[in-house]
């Protein structure tokens, strides 16, 4: 791998994470489509929201991560893609808005009719968004995005057989992943009815996804020669075989009710498809534009790689913490009395923060900020003013809260 390809590899990592994590969030909403009232569908709905709750925002950020690396490391490719594919990408953007808004407000729904309205928006946008993103990927993969500002056809670049095949695959894999994950989450929480319900869905969705993927390969073979030659050539064919094998094994694991290993193998099946696409297209990013040609200058590539590496030092343990808490079921169980007792605050005899530091900081910051003409003096002044705000808020906020919390007057 050359330096110019490293950011692309990072993008693929992000894309895989978005496909297996974000994709499953989209899929979880898919299973709410057309759900009517009734306790069983209500239980499924609650389960899906609860499973998604702690993770969907983080899962969603992978998309921003991929875009940001793309425009930094391969700016002209990014610009070509977003101008030619502006229609499906804008549709995806609208879907993202509707979906996020529906998610944000679902907790406030009280009446059945509100619930159904919100759920419908949520489900429809959760199908629309991955489909639209899939058509955009189809446009890139089938070589319909030339280099340049909206140089490609605004319509046929995404209304074409390959785009629709990949859009359908995106929706199907999301539904499949979600069913596997939700079955696993239900089994972990001891909700056997739900686990059985999602097991059935996972088996059906797995079979359908496999069929859609095969049909998709056929469509691609007829529609996009270059992509076909890449996919069925070495080494991309390995990834396809691996994906098929992982998918079939997952089905068997789900059938036996072994949801935890199935969770990882299902993700691997989806990841292999993304890798296969990348290998099939190598070394071209867009028709006539290789990765090497598209890449930014060395300093930008190095800064991006180092920046992502440093970010990973923070991100990886944070994600491990979040998913550890979720997968160990720490957010599932209800609090017991004993827990509540243990969690009560450590109440130390406390002093109120004093305002002395705040006054000192103000005495330094005020004159320096006013007099300085930029440079370090200005910096010291501004930092002192910020310290005034911080110390002052602590001291005065504490005192004001104590006054406000008194039982008598206001």
């Amino acid at each position: 791998m050359t330096l110019a390809e490293v950011p692309l590899a990072l993008m693929l990592v992000g894309l895989i994470a978005y496909a297996v994590l974000g994709g499953a969030d989209f899929g979880a909403a898919f299973w709410q489509l057309g759900a009517r009232g009734g306790t069983r569908s209500e239980a499924r709905r609650e389960h899906a929201y609860r499973a998604m709750g702690p993770v969907w925002e983080a899962n969603h950020v992978w998309l921003v991560f991929v875009l940001a690396i793309c425009w930094t490391a391969y700016p002209e490719a990014f610009a070509s893609i977003f101008s030619t594919l502006s229609v499906p990408l804008f549709v995806a953007a609208l879907g993202i808005i509707l979906r996020g808004t529906a998610y944000a407000v679902h907790a406030g729904t009280a009446r059945e009719i509100e619930r159904q309205a919100i759920d419908s928006v949520f489900s429809v946008s959760s199908i629309l968004t991955p489909f639209a993103l899939g058509t955009a990927i189809g446009g890139i993969a089938s070589g319909r995005v030339p280099v340049g500002n909206a140089e490609g056809d605004l319509l046929t670049s995404w209304v074409n057989p390959t785009s629709f095949a990949i859009g359908t695959i995106a929706v199907a894999t999301g539904a499949y992943l979600a069913a596997v994950y939700l079955a696993g989450d239900a089994a972990r929480a001891g909700l056997d009815d739900l686990a059985a319900a999602f097991r059935t869905r996972a088996l059906v969705a797995g079979a359908v996804t496999g069929a859609v993927a095969l049909a998709g390969l056929l469509v691609v073979s007829l529609d996009a020669e270059t992509l076909r030659d890449g996919l069925f050539g070495w080494p991309a064919i390995l990834a396809l075989v691996a994906s098929a094998a992982a998918g079939l094994t997952t089905l068997e694991l789900v059938r036996r009710g072994r949801f935890e290993p199935a969770r990882y193998l299902a993700s691997a099946a989806v990841a292999a498809i993304v890798v296969g696409w990348a290998l099939a297209q190598r070394p071209e990013l867009l028709p006539g534009l290789t990765v090497e040609e598209a890449a930014a200058e060395r300093p930008t590539l190095i800064a991006t790689i180092v920046g992502v590496a440093l970010g990973a030092v923070v991100l990886v343990p944070s994600l491990a913490l979040l998913f550890g808490l979720v997968l160990r079921g720490r957010f599932d169980r209800e609090a017991t009395e004993a827990d509540a007792e243990a969690r009560r605050g450590t109440v130390a005899p406390h002093r109120r923060p004093s305002g002395g530091l705040a006054v000192l900081a103000l005495a330094i910051g005020l004159p320096l900020t006013l007099v300085a003409e930029g440079g370090p003096v200005q910096a010291v002044g501004v930092v002192a003013l910020l310290a005034f705000v911080a110390f002052g808020s602590a001291a005065l906020g504490f005192a004001a809260a104590a006054v406000a919390a008194r039982d008598d007057d206001g």
Binding site: E57, S83, A104, P299, S318, L319, V347
Partner: protein, 472 residues
């Protein structure tokens, strides 16, 4: 430079785009919806944590109740902020591909790093909000701290890009091509970064502080004056009241930097046509293309403000070619709106601080509470006006002095449809946000009994020792 790259440059030559104005409006709408949410992303976690800290220090459950209820608001607003922020990153490519193609490698790193702040914020907000009653008190409080830090680093990264657009460096333009790219110097070696960052970061506390306090001030006027409401009123109000006067000093610093680096923008703030020594400020009025009509003249004030010298020479709009001047009246009105509201908010702040420091109680006049109610929406107006000042003031440039906005735009013809649908969807989003906030506010306030079995009456130092015994 290889011939291939040169060949790839031609497709990003300026295009004819009928809908430049619509594209700018669309971008502005997306910012206007997103930025108030950003304020809550930055400042609200700090308010929630402050409440939780009060609970941990005093053991008074009222603070925990406030923190817990607010954290639900925090999560809902963050969720909406996640999507409106994502839309902005889409729009960079959907609307301004030539800008991205030419300069993405110079400033893009800022957004790449911002993604990590975004991750950290999303992860720890989830742990914090879903961790109530699930994590130990200490672990729960600690889980909130990365959210506050990420709110700061996220603003740092995003503002580094905006500061670069206003004061670009870290690259060389050779025959229309960007070479010799130094991304770190471009983003972080920029004088403009610091005042923009501090100004925006403080603005977030002002907006979130006054809007939150305004909700409870409204309740106060309608008779909801219990302990819960009073506590929820004073903490954000205290922070906003301390930040607002400081913001005026920071604004003065920002204006001096603008005077030095973007003289045409500063001239537009005032509507100063010809360069002048001892330039005045006109309050209100209208710039007619030559001078300000009907304004109230304050002699020498512009020189004093811009250079801290009443006789300093201030460059005028006539010093730059006519096609490089920003739309003066938009910038001028926005600037005066921001400054005017800023001083009004500072006045409310000082009244509050004076009454509290001198008398150790809250103000009692309903007029004070009416002013706090008004301060919330006004602070949002000032926030938007401030961004209009700096962003419209940057026009006609997308990269100041280097690339004009019309050179940045997409060649795709779908802008009007996109704009119309975004307006509809954002109207729905705003309605939904208002709806959920009202729903969350309507849930009855339940303050659990204190550890001793009764709600603590006084949250003072005398009280908690009993609780500590109870815990051992």
């Amino acid at each position: 430079m290889s011939p291939l790259v040169l060949a790839a440059a031609a497709p990003f030559a300026p295009v004819d785009q009928e809908y430049l104005f619509e594209a700018r409006q669309m971008q502005a709408l997306s910012f206007a919806v997103h930025i108030p949410l950003v304020c809550f992303g930055i400042a609200f976690p700090a308010f929630v944590l402050f409440m939780e800290a009060l609970w941990l220090r005093t053991g008074d459950p009222v603070y925990r109740t406030v923190a817990k209820r607010w954290s639900k608001v925090m999560l809902a607003l963050f969720a909406v902020g996640v999507v409106t922020g994502t839309i902005l990153s889409f729009e960079l490519g959907l609307l301004w591909p030539s800008f991205m193609a030419s300069f993405g490698d110079v400033f893009g790193l800022g957004f790449t790093l911002e993604a990590f702040s975004f991750f950290v914020e999303a992860i720890f907000i989830a742990i914090y909000v879903y961790g109530w009653d699930r994590l130990s008190a200490r672990a729960h409080f600690l889980a909130g701290i990365p959210v506050v830090i990420a709110g700061f680093t996220g603003s740092l990264m995003v503002i580094s890009v905006n500061a670069w657009m206003n004061n670009p460096s870290g690259f060389t333009l050779e025959g229309g091509r960007v070479t010799d790219v130094r991304p770190l110097a471009a983003l972080f070696g920029n004088d403009y970064l610091w005042h923009e960052l501090v100004h925006m970061y403080l603005a977030a506390y002002i907006v979130a502080g006054f809007l939150t306090a305004g909700v409870y001030a409204w309740g106060w006027l309608r008779g909801r004056r219990g302990r819960y409401e009073r506590v929820a009123l004073v903490v954000p109000l205290t922070v906003a009241a301390l930040v607002t006067p400081v913001q005026i000093l920071v604004g003065d610093w920002a204006a001096r930097e603008v005077a030095r680096e973007q003289p045409a923008k500063l001239a537009a703030f005032e509507g100063l046509h010809e360069a002048e020594e001892g330039a005045p400020v006109h309050l209100l009025g209208w710039y007619d293309g030559e001078q300000v009509q009907y304004g109230i003249e304050l002699p020498r004030l512009l020189s004093l403000l811009a250079f801290h010298d009443p006789d300093a020479r201030v460059e005028g709009l006539a010093d730059v070619p006519a096609d490089e001047r920003p739309p003066v009246n938009v910038v001028r009105v926005a600037f005066q709106t921001m400054v005017g509201i800023g001083f009004a908010l500072a006045a409310v702040s000082l009244v509050y601080l004076f009454v509290f420091v001198r008398r150790r109680r809250l103000p009692r006049s309903p007029w004070f509470y009416r002013a706090v109610v008004a301060a919330g929406p006004l602070s949002v107006v000032a926030l938007i006006a401030g961004w209009v000042t700096t962003e419209v003031g940057r026009q006609p440039w997308v990269v100041y002095g280097r690339m004009r906005t019309e050179e940045a735009i997409t060649g795709a013809g779908s802008i009007p449809i996109g704009y119309a649908s975004l307006v509809l969807v954002y109207a729905g989003l705003i309605a939904a946000v208002v709806w959920i906030l009202r729903r969350l506010a309507r849930a009855p306030v339940e303050i659990p009994a204190g550890p001793g079995g009764v709600a603590p009456v006084v949250a003072g130092p005398a009280q908690p020792e009993r609780e500590q015994d109870g815990r051992q």
